[in-house]
Amino acid sequence: MTTDNARRVISVIVVNEASVLSRITDLFSGRGYNITSLTVAPIPDTKYSRLTIATLGSVKVMEQITKQLHKLIPVLRVYEHEDMVEKEMALVKFDITENLSDINTICEAYNGKIVNAGESSVIVMVADEPKRIDNFLNSMKRYNPKEIVRSGAVALER
């Protein structure tokens, strides 16, 4: 692993309790660490939630982030992912007059499809690696997307 500023993904398992998310984000902001993306949801049938945090930092910064997160009382575990499956979702809205068959074909290449069609617009969904989501959104520019929303990454160690 290099020591320079690289994108890194960590998972944090926390007890589901009031303000636990603030504790995590305050730690990042208070210590000057960066959050690129953050997703959080309860782990089914447990009292825990799982946060997936994408961040930028050197190995040393990551070590501090991990240790400081561990110090928080509701934090059960922190994993820094090295060999993981990582996915992110994006929803994009297009005008109904755009070339929908082209859009749909491209979506399929990114594990996606049209998920909603209304009178004036359609919404597509894709789920893929964050870098590929970047590529997808770039390729969608020519179809004049009206709105774009990204979910942030989720990751599991292989």
Binding site: V14, V15, A18, S19, S22, R23, D26, G30, E63, Q64, K67, Q68, H70, K71, I73, P74, V75, L76
Partner: protein
């Protein structure tokens, strides 16, 4: 038994063995204060400001080793207490601070005296709670005391809405804590400890670097044993003063920005740093890349995040200092202390070259003289607190400390106004000792209202004001680094400190000669009263040695020798 949330607070404090609570009542905490009125199991000390209540609890905790407790109300009561929480957080002081909150139904409505207290305290406490149901109170209070005092100690804040303190529920404090996410490592890894001892045995110029964690874990006497057994010299951080007695032959002195020449040079020349409960603070290390450049580092700390945070540890040992040092003691036979004789001689030569001293003045009192004189007259009989500034550094440099917990000061946060209330807490914890607070003419005014508390509660703190009519430390930096532009540091306009003390029912002395100082101190000690001794000292005295911020430890600004002047 079925009792109110307010009664639960009282019962929990009693169950935790709390003897003294510092605090200030208000609307949202009134239910609890009503229960305080009805009980006689612990003593409540009414401070005159919430900040002072927390500092007093800190002083109490530092002097006694127990968890300090402060109680305050919502809104401004809480915001006033934030500085105390931050101070305790930085110095790892175990506190439980209980605040009142507006009723649950009003939270989030911008109600009178409402503030998001847990939101504010999150970044300056080890942990915090908003109690939303009295059923949770016994568990939360038990957790609060446990979390505050275990692992790396720190302040825990418990915010309780007024309706929760009125809620009647079943109370049972005999509960097992289930903190599966909080399990501090106290026992060091035996293999790492063995490796560290082998490194010590092999080193040529090892050096103990003693930090405040030693005091917090009550490990000072174990550390003394280890040092005497291995015959390795030691430097203390500001926070560790008193770990070794001032006359211990292995103590070199304090290191860091205002450390002694010998201490800083020893740190620069050592080949093995044995850091115990120390966190490589920037005021200690100076320029990091030059700090103990040729040394391997053994780092013992209960907080894993402190290890290799700033300086890479070659032998990291996570654990309680007391436990680890005792493990080290069992292996200490492998260390032949006679090997370090020439290293000790080298350090003695450093000390002889630039001893920690000051130039006496026949006309004006030097502040360092005052500290030394108090040491000569009271020595071990006094506990020493300080405010923040030059006087604080002089106290740390020149007072002859003999024991741990004798020195109480604001290290990490550097809080002016800390000293007087902290000294009251020290006096409450150790009434048999004289409680001295070295303060400055700037610092003392930041919590001067506590004169009333001290007089009323018969906490005879003797405040020795080293009065140089300046915000002295800032003035020193302005002199040295801002071409003598003394911007807003001149405190020529001052209250009459004698009359001020008298106005509150204490005694004031203004002294400008050594004889008068001796007489005033003797009188204040004999009368056992709250006192201000306002000492007119040399205005432009600097704290030396000094390592300029960001400079290397071995590049110190030193006291000019007399013949150089």
């Amino acid at each position: 038994m079925q009792i109110s949330g307010a009664q639960m607070v009282i019962e929990a404090l009693i169950a935790e063995g709390v003897e003294t609570v510092f605090g200030y009542p208000g609307g949202a905490i009134m239910n609890v204060y009503d229960e305080i009125y009805k009980q006689d199991k612990f003593h409540h000390i009414l401070t005159r400001h919430e900040q002072a209540a927390v500092h007093a609890a800190e002083g109490y905790s530092k002097a006694s080793g127990k968890v300090g407790v402060a109680m305050i109300t919502s809104g401004p009561g809480f915001t006033n207490a934030v500085t105390g929480l931050a101070d305790a957080y930085m110095d790892s002081i175990p506190l439980v601070v209980i605040s009142g909150q507006v009723p649950m139904s009003l939270i989030g409505t911008d109600a009178f005296q409402e503030i998001d207290a847990v939101g504010i305290s999150r970044s300056c406490t080890k942990h915090n709670y908003l109690v939303t149901d009295a059923k949770d109170l016994p568990r939360i209070l038990k957790e609060a005391f446990y979390i505050a005092s275990s692992g790396r100690p720190g302040p825990v804040h418990v915010d309780i809405p007024k309706d929760v303190t009125a809620q009647i529920e079943e109370f049972n404090y005999d509960i097992e804590l289930e903190l599966e996410t909080y399990k501090p490592t106290t026992k060091g890894n035996p293999r790492q400890i063995k490796k560290a001892m082998e490194a010590i045995a092999a080193a040529k110029r090892p050096l103990f670097y003693l930090g405040g964690g030693i005091i917090n874990s009550n490990a000072a006497y174990d550390v003394r044993d280890l040092i005497h057994k291995t015959q390795i010299p030691a430097v203390e951080t500001f926070m560790a003063r008193g770990t070794l007695s001032h006359d211990d032959k292995y103590l070199i002195g304090m290191l860091g920005m205002h450390g002694s020449y010998a201490s800083n040079m020893a740190m620069s020349e050592t080949d093995l740093v044995i850091a115990l409960g120390a966190r490589f603070d920037d005021r200690v290390t100076g320029k990091l890349s030059e700090f103990a450049k040729n040394a391997a580092i053994i780092h013992v700390d209960i907080d894993p995040a402190s290890i290799s945070k700033l300086v890479n540890a070659d032998y990291p040992i996570v654990g309680d200092v007391k436990s680890v040092v005792n493990e080290m003691l069992t292996l200490a036979d492998c260390v032949d202390g006679s090997r370090y004789e020439s290293w000790r001689e080298t350090i003695e030569n450093f000390d002889a070259l630039h001893p920690l001293t000051f130039h006496e003045d026949s006309e004006r009192i030097k502040p360092q003289w005052v500290v030394k004189r108090v040491g000569e007259l009271l020595g071990d009989d006094a506990n020493i607190s300080t405010d923040v500034g030059q006087h604080q550094m002089w106290a740390a440099q020149f007072y002859p400390f003999t024991r741990p917990r004798q020195f109480v000061s604001s290290g990490g946060l550097g809080t002016m106004g800390f000293g007087f209330p902290a000294a009251m807490g020290v006096k409450a914890a150790a009434p048999e000792k004289v409680s001295i607070n070295f303060t400055g003419d700037g610092s003392i005014l930041m919590n001067v209202q506590e004169l009333m508390t001290a007089v009323e509660k018969k906490l005879p703190v003797i405040n020795i004001i080293l009065n140089n009519n300046f915000l002295g430390m800032v003035r020193q930096w302005q002199t040295l680094f801002y071409d003598k532009r003394h911007s807003e540091t001149d405190l020529s306009m001052q209250p009459d400190f004698v009359k001020l003390a008298e106005a509150f029912g204490g005694i004031g002395y203004r002294v400008s000669t050594k004889e008068d100082f001796d007489a005033a101190l003797k009188d204040a000690v004999e009368k056992n009263v709250v006192a201000f001794i306002d000492v007119v000292v040399e205005r432009f005295e600097n704290v030396l040695p000094m390592v300029p911020a960001g400079g290397s430890l071995f590049n110190m600004m030193l006291l000019e020798k007399k013949e150089d002047k």
